[in-house]
């Protein structure tokens, strides 16, 4: 591959980053709050709710994400003969998957806050809602930030799986260019793009961690 082609491929792959980032951001927006809700449901005193949640987490963590993506997209078609947008399907699959992983991180974070915090809040008259959002959650966020950043980085790279149901993101383009040009350079360029993105994410998280460093 000559310089011109390389520049051309670089541009083509860059146009694919948009889709990758869209998947990434939308997944985070939905899966993080869902993760908190799942964590609370998992901790619920109501047996039914906690059992269902446990089963959900087992199912998601126990099966390949590729299977889940394909299932989410094709199941409605096979069962109800209903089709829908591929992009929506990939977001749904990712949110369901990542909410499970995030929920376990949140749960360990919530459980790490001492009972004394809740008791102090109770005696001061905070209701359960206030206690959670004003007292517990802010402390949980500090605790869970490092493991969350791991998952977020993994999510960015997992966006490359979107192509299996035909959503064309950056890595799908890279593969196409590689076989078209008969060269690994497009793959390398994709790698560099991922690297840059992960680097940016790492910086964002370390900034966040620093910001919460004001207490320990």
């Amino acid at each position: 591959m000559g310089i011109d082609e390389t520049i051309n491929v670089t541009k083509i792959l860059f146009s694919g980053i948009g889709v990758s980032l869209k998947i990434f951001v939308l997944t985070l927006i939905f899966s993080l709050p869902l993760g908190v809700i799942v964590a609370l449901a998992r901790n619920s005193k109501l047996k039914l709710i906690s059992t269902i949640t446990k089963a959900y987490i087992l199912l998601i963590r126990g099966t390949p994400i590729m299977l889940q993506i394909i299932f989410v997209y094709f199941a409605p078609y096979y069962i109800f003969n209903m089709t829908y947008d591929r992009f929506t399907a990939i977001i749904v699959a990712f949110v369901i998957n990542y909410a499970a992983y995030f929920s376990e991180i949140f749960r360990s974070g919530i459980n790490s806050i001492s009972q004394g915090q809740r008791e102090a809040a109770y005696t001061l008259g905070f209701d359960k809602f206030q206690t959670f959002f004003l007292i517990i959650l802010p402390q949980v966020i500090k605790v869970v930030l490092p493991p969350i950043s791991n998952e977020v980085i993994s999510l960015l790279k997992t966006t490359s799986l979107a192509q299996i149901i035909g959503v064309t993101e950056m890595f799908a383009l890279a593969q196409k260019q590689a076989s078209y040009n008969f060269s690994v350079i497009p793959l390398c360029i994709a790698g560099v793009y991922y690297l840059i993105l992960v680097f940016v994410i790492s910086i964002v998280f370390s900034k966040l961690e620093k910001k919460l460093d004001y207490y320990n």
């Binding site: 001492s114 004394g116 915090q117 008791e119 102090a120 809040a121 109770y122 005696t123 001061l124 008259g125 905070f126 206030q130 004003l134 007292i135 802010p138 402390q139 500090k142 004001y214 207490y215 320990n216």
Partner: protein, 729 residues
């Protein structure tokens, strides 16, 4: 009005009853302190009141609102949220481990509930927070985070946070238990202030002294029940129930029932007792006399008396003669300012800090489980009373206060008596009414040693350990005449001497060179056939000495033992050492010796011993014998010292005068005593030519022990006698 009513509340954790049918009431403005061992349910009770734990039966009524609405099939149904919220805001809780919100600043910790729960606007909330922080002396920390505060500051913030919602009742669950000792005070002070403001509080604490100060009422709990309830003075000072006493004993010194605080206004001689009280406030363990020295200097300056001190903190105070006695010879009075500090194992007392509280126990003054310091504080107090009096017709008085009599004698050794005009010293360090000390022993102490030599253990020898302990011991001066005390070092060695054919391996006995040994431990090798003979000898000794432990046992064989030469030297020296009282006059011992200690170091076996003599010619004969024995066994003397004795004409002016006055009052003679102990007078006599010295004092019992006590009647008699005596000069 009752702010809180706990009605027959029980609480179980599974099958464990934590609270059993407890009822109590708290009035508005009352401070209730709950005491009790851990696991007694006191914290759980507080948690139930704060609805942090659900109760199993009974009811809790706070500010008129019932926590439990009703019982359905004996299960409690809690009231609705609205009422529980009301109750919740009526009670505040201060936790042992603070539970501050770490992500919020100090100010926000306080304002968060005001804003979110009580719906106050931010400005108002900030105002309340600053007000409370000012009260807690924490304004400067308003924007800090809890992690930057000390434990004491954290707990004060947590108290402020609790006060912010203005609860009717403040519950505190061991508020100082998680604090370093030096931070406890600041938190207790804040709580005391709240009590003064008449805040209603329930406090669970282990700070008994604080409880006594702050509580209006005290409850003692154990095993989930209230054992005792009443005012602090009832429950803490005079607990009725054995369990309460047992518990309190771990924290404070509970006095014996029959003892009452000594009141210096009621007990004669008032002035002496008043001064004794004052000096008992001052810690004065031997070697720590600066405080009492300062007291004496101040005493003299306040009365315009001439006063001297030296670098050892000895003090001399002089008082001019009464009118008409200016030309009479001055008289010196002497006492030592230090005391022996001993306490009973169950008593908390810091001899560097705590004053000694005086109690009256029948005719005795005593402390509560510690030495009293009547030896020689009661002497100091009598001298101060004499110096203080305005109207006594005495000649010029010179008061000598010495230091470290109980330890190094450094005060008596170093004191400069060149400023002393008097040729007569009356010491008040005596211990018996009707007796007068006129002579004391000269004491020689030695430490000598034998170099160690080892050989490997011969075949057919078995290793034994012979152990002596629980002997009475005692002072080599005062107690040496009592043969029943026995000397375990001598006894053990005498057994080895009798059975012969032994090799010593290890030897240890005694404690200090001026103390009669209490224990002895020797490991040695001998043939097993000797065991029966040893046991017979032990039984003979046990029979004679009574309640002592002597035992022999076989132990695993080692590799080496002392050489035959070294073994024989040790045995020969100790066996032939003349021990105990050697010579008497009437019933007084006048020559005695003490085999005090035998210890090993890396290269030597060290043996310490001493002799006390009131008669130097008898002693010199003895010293010749001892010298031969030392030389014969090749001992090297590496340390020795001489402590001077009191040797004087026992019919000198001073002694005759003392007797004459005593006879005038009691129509009988004083009994003249010669002690084997070392007294400070010996050193005084060696400094001043033609000095006359006597020592008197009231009856003191069990000196140097926590049972030390002084007889009030005897003190009164002695002090009256002393006054008569001084007026007669």
């Amino acid at each position: 009005m009752n702010v809180l009513e706990v009605k027959q509340v029980s609480k179980k954790y599974g099958k464990l009853d934590v609270i059993k049918d407890i009822s109590l009431e708290v009035k508005e403005g009352e401070t209730l302190v709950i005491l009790g061992p851990s696991g007694s349910g006191k914290s759980t009770l507080l948690r139930c009141i704060n609805n942090l734990e659900k109760i199993n039966s009974g009811n809790i009524i706070i500010n008129g609102e019932e926590m439990i609405k009703e019982y359905k099939s004996s299960k409690p149904i809690y009231n609705n949220k609205e009422i529980l919220n009301k109750i919740n805001l009526s009670t505040g809780m201060v936790f042992q481990d603070f539970n501050l919100f770490p992500h919020l600043s100090v100010k926000e910790n306080i304002t968060q509930a005001l804003i979110s729960v009580l719906k106050k606007d931010k400005l108002e909330a900030d105002g309340i927070a600053y007000g409370l922080l000012k009260k807690m002396d924490l304004i400067s920390k308003a924007n800090s985070y809890p992690c930057d505060l000390s434990g004491g500051q954290k707990q004060r913030v947590s108290i402020a946070r609790c006060l912010a919602i203005n609860p009717k009742i403040i519950c505190m669950d061991e508020p100082t238990s998680a604090l370093d000792p030096e931070l406890v005070g600041e938190v207790l002070k804040v709580i005391k202030d709240l009590a003064k403001e008449k805040r209603t509080m329930i406090i669970v604490t282990h700070e008994i002294k604080f409880a006594e100060e702050v509580a209006d009422r005290v409850i003692f709990m154990d095993e989930g029940k209230i054992i005792e309830e009443g005012s602090p003075s009832q429950v803490i000072e005079n607990p009725k129930k054995e369990r309460t006493r047992e518990f309190l004993k771990r924290y404070i010194n509970i006095k014996e029932d029959k003892m009452e605080k000594l009141n210096s206004n009621e007990v004669e001689p008032k002035k002496v007792i008043k001064f004794f009280e004052e000096i008992s406030e001052i810690p004065r363990e031997s070697g720590n006399e600066e405080g009492i020295k300062n007291y004496l200097i101040k005493f003299a300056k306040e009365r315009n008396l001439e006063v001297y001190e030296d670098k050892d903190y000895n003090v001399i105070i002089k008082k001019e003669a009464a009118k008409g006695k200016e030309n009479n010879e001055p008289i010196a009075l002497q006492a030592h300012t230090d005391m022996v500090c001993e306490k009973r194992a169950d008593i908390r007392h810091d001899f560097e800090e705590d004053p000694i509280i005086l109690y009256k126990d029948g005719d005795y003054i005593r402390a509560n489980g510690t030495t009293l310091g009547a030896d020689n504080g009661i002497g100091v107090a009598q001298i101060l009373a004499l110096l203080d009096s305005q109207d006594m017709k005495t000649p010029k008085l010179e008061a000598i206060f010495t230091v470290q009599e109980e330890s190094t004698m450094i005060g008596a050794i170093n004191i400069d008596l060149s400023k002393l005009q008097s040729k007569k010293i009356i010491s008040l360090d005596g211990g018996r009414e009707g007796k007068i000390l006129v002579g004391s022993a000269n004491c020689l102490e030695w430490k000598s040693r034998l170099e160690k030599e080892y050989i490997s253990v011969p075949e057919e020898y078995t290793r034994y350990e012979l152990k002596y302990d629980n002997f009475k011991g005692g002072h080599s001066g005062g107690n040496i005449g009592d043969i029943k005390r026995g000397n375990p070092i001598k006894l053990g060695i005498s057994i080895l001497k009798k059975i012969e054919d032994v090799y010593i391996e290890e030897v240890f006995g005694g404690s200090q060179v001026n103390v009669i040994p209490r224990d002895f431990d020797i490991k040695f090798y001998t043939k097993p056939s000797k065991l029966l003979e040893i046991e017979n000898l032990i039984n003979e000794q046990k029979e004679f000495y009574g309640k002592v432990n002597i035992e022999i046992k076989e132990i695993a064989k080692g590799e080496r033992c002392f050489s035959e030469k070294l073994t024989n030297r040790i045995i020969d020296f100790i066996y032939n050492y003349e021990n105990g009282a050697l010579e008497y006059v009437n019933n007084n011992v006048i020559l005695s010796c003490n085999m005090a200690e035998i210890k090993e170091d890396e290269n030597y076996v060290n043996i310490g011993y001493s002799t006390r003599a009131n008669n130097l010619s008898l002693r010199n004969k003895y010293l010749e014998r001892l010298d031969k024995l030392v030389k014969k066994n090749g001992l090297e003397i590496f340390w020795s010292q001489e402590l001077k004795g009191v040797e004087q004409d026992i019919n000198n002016d001073l002694i005759l005068k003392c007797n004459e006055i005593y006879k005038k009052i009691y129509s009988r003679n004083l009994e003249k005593m010669i002690t084997q102990g070392v007294v400070e007078g010996g050193f005084f006599l060696s400094k001043v030519n033609d000095l006359q010295y006597v020592c008197i004092g009231p009856n003191t019992e069990d000196v140097h022990s926590p049972n030390e006590r002084v007889s009030i009647t005897s003190l009164k008699n002695t002090y009256e006698y002393l006054q008569e005596l001084l007026i007669s000069f």
